[in-house]
């Protein structure tokens, strides 16, 4: 048996690969549910339950929004060859920026704009730092951005436990509630802030257009696919990398703004601000095969998995460790299906 790269798999094959791997994951989950004493069919139903009612759909959307924003940026960064593993940290810095604008700058109608400027700016700065280190010293951005996640996380813990700790927080680690001017509007009764949803959709479309139709995108694609050719042509490699990194960091920062100003309404512990969106979004970008527009599809899909697992937790009072196994297995199945559909399997020796 041999594997061969298949660069343009047929839709039928892709469908088959996904069906096969999802089936595999569901079988494994069935065993898990049985061991836990839950009828598998009921659990499967619960996993899909968010699709059944508007409130559930809103839960899916709530998780899809940060994935969309970050994923679109990451799809761009990956295409340019900037392997940004630090979206989680950039998101947290975006949250810090938003919190500063909300809590310490005079409130007014301009507050949301300030939050996005400051939050996005900090996120971009955080990613830009890694790009600069790579361009200037050749430091691998995979390592630097990964480490920056810990720095950002520690910064947030320090702020909510120390200087920014709320007056009314008592023993809890969070800031005061944001003033009304700093609260982003939501869609109806849901927890979906529509400004970030809109930004996410716009970002995915815009980045796709930029990448496939503009001179800048042309240079980006050359650099990402063949850095040697970029050097040969004399493209400004450093500038192109930096620009892609800044864009990706900016969007991750926006996602952070949306989480604290649209949902939590205060800065709190890192693990509560983000459910690992910065990492799950890597998957969203990869499943979209580096096409920002494709993230419009993959982000809601991953959102559904996260929301379905949450529904399971609530309905069956399952511990989150078990629920994490559920979402983890499903994500793994997606990775497997995507990897297999990108290859041709030759059975002949």
């Amino acid at each position: 048996m041999r594997l061969e790269l298949d660069l343009s798999p047929s839709p039928g094959k892709v469908l088959l690969a996904y069906a096969f791997f999802l089936l595999l994951a569901l079988l494994a989950l069935g065993a898990l549910f049985l061991a836990y004493g839950v009828a598998p069919l009921r659990a499967y139903g619960l996993l899909l339950s968010p699709l059944a009612d508007p409130l559930g759909l809103a839960e899916v959307a709530r998780r899809a929004v940060p994935l969309l924003l970050i994923g679109a940026g990451l799809a761009l960064a990956f295409r340019v060859g900037f392997f940004n593993i630090g979206a989680e940290g950039q998101l947290l810095l975006g949250a810090v920026g938003a919190a500063y604008a909300a809590l310490f700058l005079p409130p007014g109608p301009w507050t949301p704009v300030l939050m996005f400027l400051l939050g996005g700016g900090l996120g971009a700065l955080w990613a830009g730092l890694a790009a600069w280190l790579r361009v200037r010293f050749g430091a691998s951005e995979i390592l630097t951005t990964l480490m920056q996640n810990y720095l950002a996380s520690s910064l947030v813990v320090y702020l909510v436990a120390g200087p920014w700790k709320g007056q009314m927080a008592l023993g809890f680690l969070y800031t005061d509630r944001f003033p009304p001017e700093a609260q982003l509007p939501r869609l109806g009764e849901t927890l979906v802030p529509w400004p970030t949803l809109l930004l996410g959709v716009a970002a995915a479309c815009l980045l796709q257009l930029l990448l496939s139709r503009t001179p800048l995108g042309f240079a980006w694609r050359v650099l990402g696919e063949n850095p040697q050719a970029a050097r040969y042509l004399g493209l400004k490699e450093g500038r192109l990398l930096l620009l892609a990194a800044l864009t990706s960091g900016l969007l991750s920062g926006f996602a952070g703004v949306g989480e604290v100003a649209g949902i939590h309404l205060r800065l709190l512990e890192p693990a509560q601000i983000s459910l690992g969106y910065g990492f799950t979004a890597i998957l969203a970008a990869w499943l979209a095969r580096g096409r920002p527009l494709g993230v419009l599809l993959t982000a809601p899909l991953l959102g559904l998995i996260l929301a379905g697992a949450d529904a399971l937790k609530l309905a069956l009072s399952m511990p989150f460790r078990v629920v994490d196994v559920v979402s983890g297995l499903l994500l793994l199945a997606l990775i497997g299906a995507e990897a297999v559909s990108r290859h041709r399997i030759l059975w002949r020796r």
Binding site: L7, L209, R213, T214, P215, F218, A219, R221, V222, E225, N226, Q228, A229, R231, Y232, L233, G234, L235, R348, R349
Partner: protein, 489 residues
């Protein structure tokens, strides 16, 4: 010893080998002659277990065999000397040779050397077993590959274009070794696209064209013209004649130094006039690449370089804008595989297609179609990714892009490497056209015939120093070979 019967291999719709039947007996050298893309490498891959044939049978010593992997090929007694030495540069010769042996988990260096010397008794070594491979010349590396192949005590030895990295003198040494092996009863299959070599070494010659076997000749009955007709399907055009060069100096290089590993390029000086073709030969790795890349703005250098009387900028994009074209040594550097033919043809000029910020792909593809037709690039549509093209067509894409604006200076390295004879003739004609229009052409090539056919003056790089240039009329193949190998005319 080795017999192929009606062997066919397809890749999708492309038939790489169609009904090939040939036989190599012990104590015989059979040459497989064909242009690039004729299917020689595919046939080697079939013999070495990299692909399985779709049809046909392979016999070894009268028994039908299946060769599922290189390992199996070695076990059956088929050894391959690859076109480019595939050695681990940081390791010693002995360690590289040890890779093909079954060794105990722990062994001493001395025991290894002793064992190798025992195994290779009867073969002249020609290299120091303790020397690290990166210090060896290309010829010595090939020698190591040959020794590695012989370690397995093969019955059939396959040599895939073994002379492409050797000097003429090294080629002679290799041929002597092949004759010695032949007399010891080995069956040798010699793959090449060079007529002279095939005529010098082979007992029988099998010619391939476009995957099909065009004929088989005994050496005594084979003439050059007949072979070329079989290879190309028509008589070769006489090499085009270059027009005499003009007076204006286009490129002036004085005391150029380029740092690098091995032999730095040092003290290279020459002047290149409008309409002149200067050919630079050299054994691979003598500094050709560094010289060309320095001039193309890809490497820092010291020394004085003037282009049309002004200092040469060191930025590739500005150089192109000034009229300096660069055909890089490696095709992989000159194209982006996942992007379309049209996009690759526009790699230099893409910003011009911007209309209100967006690229006008319609215009880009129309221009591409014109170039595709002019250079006879075989691509289904301008949107086909370059990755899907054959090596020769990729090379044509690079040439079409670099020459499309009528450059004033062409820096070309191996411009016809891997291109079939027909296309190579077109490339040569195009380069000479440019020279006639007043462009200066710096041609770096390993193909001495190419240099001798095109250049007004010839030179060679020897360990980073330039030997020559001397007028073409004063240079012969032998003389150029000496310049490459010994650094003197």
């Amino acid at each position: 010893m080795l017999r192929l019967e009606n062997v066919t291999k397809r890749f999708g719709p492309v038939v790489a080998n169609r009904g090939i039947s040939l036989e190599v007996r012990g104590g015989e050298v059979v040459a497989l002659l064909g242009e690039n893309g004729a299917g020689k490498t595919t046939l080697v891959s079939l013999l070495y277990g990299l692909y399985a044939p779709d049809e046909g049978r392979i016999f070894l010593e009268g028994k039908e065999v299946r060769i599922p992997s290189p390992r199996a090929a070695q076990r059956l007694g088929i050894a391959l000397v690859p076109q480019h030495p595939e050695l681990i540069e940081a390791h010693t010769v002995a360690e590289n040779l040890a890779l093909g042996l079954d060794l105990p988990p722990v062994f001493s260096r001395r025991a290894l050397v002793a064992r190798l010397e025992g195994l290779l008794a009867g073969h002249p070594l020609g290299v120091d077993l303790e020397a690290p491979v990166h210090r060896l010349s290309a010829g010595e590396k090939q020698r190591v590959e040959l020794l590695r192949a012989l370690l397995a005590r093969p019955k059939v030895l396959v040599l895939d274009e073994p002379t492409s990295v050797l000097t003429p003198k090294e080629v002679e040494g290799l041929f002597q070794e092949i004759r010695r092996l032949r007399s010891s009863g080995l069956a040798v299959l010699f793959i090449s696209h060079k007529l002279d070599e095939v005529l010098a070494i082979a007992d029988r010659i099998v010619v391939l064209r476009a995957g099909e076997q065009m004929g088989e000749l005994r050496r005594e009955e084979a003439g050059k013209d007949a072979l070329v007709r079989l290879m190309v399907g028509r008589s070769p055009a006489p090499p085009p004649k270059a027009a005499p060069p003009g007076e204006a100096v286009v490129l002036e290089v004085e005391d150029l130094m380029v740092p690098r590993h091995g032999f730095p390029v040092q003290g290279v000086s020459f002047a290149l006039r409008a309409g002149e073709v200067l050919g630079i030969a050299g054994v691979a790795g003598s500094g050709q690449r560094e010289l060309l890349e320095a001039l193309a703005g890809l490497r820092p250098y010291r020394g004085r370089v003037r282009f049309l009387g002004r200092p040469l900028p060191e930025e590739p994009a500005r150089l192109y804008a000034l009229g300096v074209a660069h055909v890089p040594e490696e095709r992989a550097m000159g194209v982006v595989g996942g992007m379309s033919v049209a996009e690759n043809l526009a790699l230099r000029t893409y910003p011009r297609y911007a209309r209100r910020g967006l690229l006008d792909y319609g215009a880009m593809e129309r221009d591409a179609e014109a170039l595709i037709a002019r250079y006879r690039i075989q691509a289904p549509t301008p949107r086909t990714p370059v990755r899907a093209l054959s090596g020769g067509n990729v090379q044509k894409v690079i040439l079409a892009r670099e020459l499309r604006e009528g450059p004033k200076l062409v820096l070309a390295m191996h411009p016809t490497y891997g291109v079939d004879v027909g296309a190579a003739e077109e490339v040569h004609a195009r380069l000479l056209d440019l020279a006639r229009e007043g462009a200066a052409i710096l041609l770096v090539s390993e193909d001495l015939d190419e240099i001798l056919a095109l250049a007004h003056r010839v030179a060679a790089l020897h360990r980073g120093r330039l030997v020559g240039p001397i007028p073409r009329e004063a240079a012969s193949r032998e003389c150029l070979g000496r310049m490459m190998a010994e650094g003197r005319a």
